[in-house]
């Protein structure tokens, strides 16, 4: 099969590449672009370890062919840090509240949490739990992840208020 010409913006950088149509977005990111932050945990779109932000939506990049993402604007965990290189508040809060252990789910979890807070800046614990229900974690039991996301929301909201 002929290769597809792919254009997309990944973490703010425009990418042009060629890829087999059947290539999964997660493989394209990990193998061709060397963005190994998002992981593969299940193959069946249940675990969410491969979550990236695509055109403002959290998606599981193991269940998207690269052609479907042609033209898209994608952010991975590698693009989460602030412009000055400092850590995003979610990254900070995950560390502060021990929201990770083995770290395998963390890139997907933080990327997902980021989109959740964009859509719901002041979520309840229950809304956070539903919001991350597409991301499995085998280590933390989620409790500290919920705490970390809640703390990040508080910090973001406090910063917004201070700026107003």
């Amino acid at each position: 099969m002929s290769k597809l010409a792919i254009k997309m913006t990944v973490n703010g950088t425009e990418i042009e590449a060629e890829a087999e149509p059947r290539m999964l977005l997660i493989h394209f990111l990990r193998e061709d672009l060397n963005l190994t932050g998002p992981h593969i945990g299940c193959d069946t779109s249940h675990c969410g370890a491969c979550t990236v932000d695509l055109n403002g939506k959290s998606v599981k990049s193991c269940t998207i062919f690269v052609g479907q993402a042609d033209g898209a604007d994608i952010t991975t965990i590698e693009g989460m840090a602030n412009a000055d290189g400092s850590l995003h508040v979610l990254q900070d809060m995950f560390r502060e509240h021990h929201g990770l252990q083995c770290g395998f789910c963390t890139p997907g979890m933080i990327t997902r949490a980021h989109r959740l807070l964009q859509e719901n800046p002041d979520p309840s614990d229950d809304e956070i739990r539903h919001g991350i229900s597409g991301n499995l974690c085998r280590c933390t039991g989620y409790q500290n992840i919920v705490k970390a996301i809640r703390a990040a929301a508080d910090q973001i909201n406090a910063a917004k208020e201070a700026a107003e």
């Binding site: 990990r30 193998e31 190994t36 593969i40 069946t44 249940h46 395998f104 500290n144």
Partner: protein, 807 residues
């Protein structure tokens, strides 16, 4: 210096030593997606391997045609047993002293078994090629029921060892499908206790086959350097040194020419202890082709082929006095080992430490026998977030004691309190041969009962049952009480080895001139935060801030030999080695300090981060100062430098314990069980990092929730796996997971240098029992004695139906 010396509090705080909730150093890279897991490794010229697996559970392999696969552009090799045979690598030893087929030789023995290994330029081509390998099978009778494995007319599974008298040195086999029989305790005395008992209870209890299912599957990258003749393998190894030794033994490559590296590991939970065909095939592929070969299993492969856990079928019996004092325990287990015995148990313990089955109770006499059998299921039998077979044992005794309580109409908490080993009985010699190191069970239990207001809960339950009887509610409340004692930290060389390797562990420390340090260990973190906590142990021992100590693990070329991380052994064994190595550093530092201060060694005392002259606190040398002096002004006759190594052979296991209470609400019409509240009190001895301990407990309890309420690797009669993906296999999400309440008591281990016992696995051990007991308790008034796990919707609903609770 004393003029400027900061206060005790400031100096202590700066160390971030034992007992502080130090933030994890690992997280800086993990939160940025900069972890380095095995599938992140990319080497020049690297190829990808993919297995062709058996669709049948039991079949003869009549022929394998690889021509079409080999003809596909990009395919470099297709390995079959015939290719491995000349290298004598078509079979490999298991950790249990059995052998396992690397690639199916003559026949397949479980669905998903490795039949051929395709190596291609990328994983896409490898996948296409695997589809093109044609295997001709002749189906054979399938054996899935372990209880029928030793029937006279049972089909013979392991033709390869049909004439072999024993497997793993565990005594004569009585049947071709028999692996071993393991007997512990006093049979006759136990029988006598039952004969004279006021009451006795007996129950058949199954702990279903489950899978550890870490979020990262297993995988490796094997790279043979043909110039140097050196093999490097990166992989998901919980025990890298053991892998090196095994790899050397079976490949005949000298051990110094093998380097095993465990990079970041995305969770292990026992899944990554074993040696799998994927590792062997990748190594062979790299040797043959001269370029690196990567193998990463899919989730479905992971669930169906690498390392199941449990699958124990247990008959438990308790004898007791009329007032509830247990006088004897008897237990028989049928252990389903699958097609090959690949359990990762210490050599002397074919059923692991199942003889901890007397639990937390002072039971005067006991007898245990375990029969291991082969079936047409995947091999494994790993300890899924528990020490070897401890979860099964703990589940059995915690169910049995509840069953005894029902029979005697006693409260489950009361009967436990009545039978506990008392504080003053430690060290306690159990009837099945263990010496429990320390504990205060009564205090822990009473603290738990008070914390949840147990009396009020029982009153609420009584009201709930009355309301249910009147038809005012369709929900039943259950209260589960569980008290567990783990046995972890394997273990003393005198009784613990794997493949002849004593289960010590190690730490090597180098102090740099400017007062920072690196410590290397024989263990490997899979999320436990070793880089954080081992530095804390050292900080307290040697007085350098944890932030200036690098912890390195997982590279056999640099780390001292160790047996790895599983069975909660890192803190009890490697943690002890770390403390002991730190003490060696401090001993040398004391001599250097004495020399610098021109006093006798004995005139110095240790003060947090420095040695101080007794009676003259203004005269001191900090560890940082001593470190520099170690490189230029050591006493005459002393070697320069400041380094130490410790290989720690623990004198005993450690015995963490805990009191867990779980409250569930069961919707009887749907069978849906909701954990309303879960209180977990853990005593893991000295607490190194409370934040990390709490995180471990949250995670272990969530795994316990999955096991108790849904996880099962189930097979149909043909040996087909039912639901071998995450669509079916129950990994709780944040929505299904309750908020966990944690608590602690702290009784140190008397024999561990810092008194720590290990905690990572306790919540899985105690959690399953507490949840299961809660489900049973909800139906106790309706006459339920026991029902098998998992307590998923339909089984719970069926229980309600059987008890006549459905309209």
């Amino acid at each position: 210096m004393s003029d400027t010396a900061p206060s005790v509090e400031e100096r202590t705080a700066k160390l971030e030593g034992l007992g502080t909730s130090r933030k994890r150093v690992e997280d800086v890279r993990f939160t940025q997606g900069r972890g380095n897991y095995v599938d992140d490794i990319k080497l020049p010229g690297m190829l990808f391997g993919e297995f062709v697996r058996s669709p049948y559970a039991h079949a003869r392999v009549k022929s394998i045609d690889t021509a079409a696969a080999l003809a596909l552009p990009g395919v470099k090799a297709v390995l079959t047993a015939a290719d491995l045979k000349p290298l004598n690598l078509h079979w490999m030893p298991t950790l249990a002293g059995d052998v396992q087929a690397v690639l199916a030789d003559e026949k397949v023995l479980f669905q998903g078994q490795e039949v051929a290994y395709v190596i291609a330029e990328d994983r896409y081509i490898a996948s296409d090629a695997a589809q093109l390998v044609e295997v001709d099978y002749e189906e054979l009778t399938v054996l899935v029921d372990p209880l029928k494995a030793m029937d006279e007319d049972a089909v013979v599974l392991r033709e390869d060892i049909v004439d072999q008298e024993e497997v793993g040195g565990h005594g004569p086999r009585r049947h071709p499908n028999h692996v071993f029989t393991w007997e512990v305790g006093e049979k006759d005395d136990t029988a006598a206790a039952f004969n004279s008992a006021d009451v006795s209870v007996k129950e058949f209890i199954t702990y279903q086959r489950v899978h550890p299912c870490p979020l990262e599957t297993c995988g490796c990258v094997a790279s043979m350097d043909p110039i140097e003749g050196k093999l490097t393998v990166w992989g998901t190894f919980q025990a890298p040194h053991a892998v090196r030794t095994v790899a050397s033994l079976i490949s005949t490559i000298p051990e110094h020419k093998i380097r095993i590296i465990s990079p970041d590991i995305g969770g292990g939970f026992g899944n990554k202890v074993g040696v799998y065909p994927g590792y062997i095939c990748s190594i062979v592929g790299s040797i043959v082709l001269g370029v690196p070969v990567k193998w990463i299993e899919s989730r479905m492969e992971n669930l169906s082929a690498t390392a199941f856990a449990r699958d124990y079928h247990m008959t438990g019996e308790l004898a007791a006095t009329a007032d509830g004092r247990i006088t004897g325990l008897r237990c028989h287990v049928v252990a389903n080992q699958g097609a090959f015995d690949a359990c990762a148990d210490p050599t002397q313990y074919p059923a692991g430490f199942f003889n901890i089955v007397t639990g937390s109770y002072d039971i005067p006499v006991a007898h245990l026998s375990v029969d291991g059998v082969y079936t047409n299921k995947a091999p494994g039998g790993v300890a899924y977030r528990c020490s070897f077979r401890v979860t099964e044992a703990s589940y059995l005794i915690e169910r049995m004691i509840d069953i005894l309580a029902r029979k005697l109409d006693m409260d489950p908490a009361e009967i436990r309190l009545k039978n506990f080993i008392k504080k003053e009985q430690f060290p306690y010699q159990s009837a099945l041969g263990w010496e429990y190191d320390s504990g205060d069970y009564d205090t822990a239990m009473n603290k738990a009962l008070t914390a949840v207001d147990y009396t009020a809960l029982r009153a609420e339950q009584t009201a709930n049952r009355e309301a249910f009887a009147k038809g005012e509610t369709r929900s039943l409340m259950g209260i589960g009480v569980a008290f567990f004692t783990e046995i972890v930290g394997a273990g003393p060389i005198k009784n613990c080895d794997i493949l002849g390797l004593g289960m010590f562990d190690s730490c090597e420390i180098r102090i740099h001139p400017t007062g920072s340090a690196i410590a290397r260990l024989g263990t490997i973190s899979q999320g436990q935060g070793h880089a954080t906590t081992f530095a804390q142990i050292l900080a307290t021992e040697i007085g350098l801030p944890a932030s200036s100590i690098t912890i390195e693990e997982g590279d056999t070329d640099t780390a001292p030999y160790g047996l790895g991380t599983y069975g909660s052994r890192s803190t009890p064994v490697a943690g002890a080695a770390t403390a002991m190595a730190g003490r060696k550093i401090r001993a040398k530092a004391q001599m250097i300090a004495a020399y610098l201060l021109e006093v006798h060694d004995d005139d110095l005392e240790w003060d947090i981060d420095r040695f101080v002259v007794k009676g003259a606190p203004e005269r001191s040398k900090t560890m940082a100062e001593i470190a520099f002096a170690a490189y230029n002004s050591v006493p005459p006759g002393m070697e320069p430098g400041l380094e130490a190594v410790s290989y720690y052979d623990p004198p005993n296991m450690t015995y963490p314990y805990g009191a867990y209470i779980c409250i569930v609400d069961i919707d009887v019409d749907t069978g849906v069980t909701e954990v309303r509240r879960f209180y977990a009190l853990d005593d893991c001895g000295t607490r190194i990092n409370p934040m990390i301990i709490e995180g471990q407990v949250h995670g272990g309890l969530t795994e316990a929730l999955g096991i108790a309420l849904g996880q099962e690797i189930d097979y149909d009669e043909m040996g087909n796996i039912k639901g071998g993906s995450l669509l079916d296999y129950f990994l709780p999400t944040a929505v299904e997971t309750p908020v966990w309440e944690t608590d602690a008591t702290e009784v140190p281990s008397p024999h561990h240098p810092i008194g720590a016992k290990g905690v990572g696995e306790s919540p899985n051990v105690g959690g399953v029992s507490a949840i299961s007991n809660a489900v049973h308790d909800a139906f106790a008034h309706a006459g339920l004695t026991h029902t098998q796990m998992p307590h998923d919707h339909w089984r719970v609903w069926k229980t309600a139906e059987r008890l006549g609770l459905l309209s």
